[in-house]
Amino acid sequence: MAVAIPVGTYGAAFGAASIAAGFSILQTCLLSLLLFSGASQFAVVGVMGSGGSALSAIATGSLLGFRNGLYGLKMAPLLKLKGFKRVIGAQLTIDESTGVSISQEGRGDDAARYGFWATGIGVYFFWNLFTLLGALGAGAIGDPAAWGLDAVVPAAFLGLLWPRLTDNKTRILAISAALLALLLVPIVPAGVPIIATALLAVIFGSRAKQ
């Protein structure tokens, strides 16, 4: 339950941001039900909202979703799922469920499995509930800027970014990526500046030794 309040706030912010970006309530709720990965969802509505093409939105959302596949790789030997349960387990494989499960590893496999399922199911429930509430609320408030909603989206990205800035390499990468994106914004189609910065990550990652 400790995760419910932050997840709820974040979910409501996503619901509201998605409506402000032009998505319908149904599309907004489908993103939370089917995509179910906060950073990717914010990226999809952010790119579409700033005038990007569906292709840019899908590419950015998918690049951000790639890490969930690596989480699955890590969780597979622990969870040993088959058939339909594997589909459900895969859908619940996100930052929070994987993180809690790994933090429980010292207490044995059962505790780690319980951490994964309890967190995954809990976050799924609250994320979707508050997405709907945020989407319904956003329709009622009129001008998003008057409520600070236009600042909530970049602040949400900043909140996701902050804990990842653990050393100088990551900070330099973050600043370079922001500058490159701002430089590209006036000269390439919307959405492309964001995807382009993934190249910086590839360059930083293949050159620098840890």
Binding site: A178, T197, A201
Partner: protein
């Protein structure tokens, strides 16, 4: 089908498949240090550029406005280890305050 529907459904499908593939492919395939390193850096590049583009541009122009105040307040809140709801509320409140001045 509209662009919004295409974005909604295809990004959902691809993101689900990425999750599912993690359970289906042999671990050795992706368990290389360089892949792990790039994987941990890609979110940093994308999230940082999303902060910049969402906070500092309007319709392909770089624009400094009330959102920057919200972002600076969010950064200060984060550096004081504020939790997520508090940080978001402070960012929204400060940005809205400047916008409504």
């Amino acid at each position: 089908m509209s662009q919004l529907w295409i974005a909604t459904l295809l990004s959902s499908l691809i993101c689900f498949l990425l999750k599912y593939l993690g359970y289906r492919i042999p671990e050795s395939l992706l368990n290389r240090p360089v892949i792990q390193r790039i994987n941990s850096l890609i979110p940093i590049a994308l999230l940082s550029s999303l902060v910049a583009v969402q906070g500092l541009t309007i319709e392909q122009q770089v624009v400094i406005d009330h959102r920057l105040v919200g972002l600076l307040v969010a950064a200060i809140a984060l550096s004081f280890k504020a939790n997520f709801p508090i940080m978001m509320l402070l960012a929204a409140a400060s940005s809205a305050a400047v916008y409504n001045l």
